[in-house]
Symmetry: C2
Subunit: 146 residues, 2 copies
């Protein structure tokens, strides 16, 4: 006998993930940012990064990252400059306006997460994170292109 | 200080869900079915249902369901007939060819799930399911249109 879709863990994770993504994207939109751009600012928050490291951390192609950075730079939220130590490398950093935008993103996403995960205790949220981390989504992707 | 995207449970669930969905869709494609159609067959496997109950179980609009059923019927995988007890109601049932297609779906999805969740014990998979069930994805959606 075949299982109902709702009985299958793969469907459940896919659906919950899809609706969670929609809720998060709505929160980012409220904060005035495209999801990819918001995630790039989040990645840059701890400090400046080389464009190559940023692409690797974001898991995007260098060409996709260039498009994102063009938008962020046009909006005054991030800036690129050449590394003085190695002129072929580009260093990306968040601007003050970018940090302010990131503050709005953080507040909006935090609110969405409280809504989504408010039914779980902190310990259960940690457990859920740990289990999700062990789902094998792309076994071939662990080879690093660097 | 803003969190990295990978530190946020909302992003993690969204990304894992998205990639899981892609893996499941690939499995359904191998089985030769569109995801929506495959899920409809899964829903019909235990027995015939009224079209209204099927739409409610699938969480789709009646008009979307009609489009799905048109395809399934054209492929000989499901059939609709009027309920003899209430001529306004339509009853939907899976055909023998539909049951055979569902067997292929089940095998393909089962393989995808073993790949996705093979790193978790049975008990951990049950735990993950329980936690995902308690994520609040659409608080307004619990009003029932019936």
């Amino acid at each position: 006998m075949a299982a109902l879709p709702s009985d299958r863990l793969g469907f459940l994770l896919s659906f919950r993930g899809e609706l969670t993504g929609a809720r998060i994207r709505a929160a980012l939109g409220v904060a005035g940012l495209h999801p990819r751009n918001a995630m790039t600012l989040m990645q840059l928050a701890p400090g400046a990064m080389s464009q190559r490291d940023l692409a690797a951390a974001m898991e995007v192609d260098p060409s996709q990252l260039v498009a994102i950075l063009n938008e962020l730079e046009a909006d005054g939220l991030a800036e690129r400059r050449r590394d003085p130590a190695d002129r072929r490398r580009h260093i990306v950093k968040i601007t003050e306006a970018g940090a302010a935008a990131l503050g709005r993103v953080d507040a909006a996403v935090g609110e969405a997460e409280r809504e989504l995960f408010g039914g779980l205790t902190e310990a259960e949220q940690t457990l859920l994170r740990g289990l999700l981390d062990r789902v094998v989504v792309n076994p071939a992707d662990h080879e690093c292109g660097e």
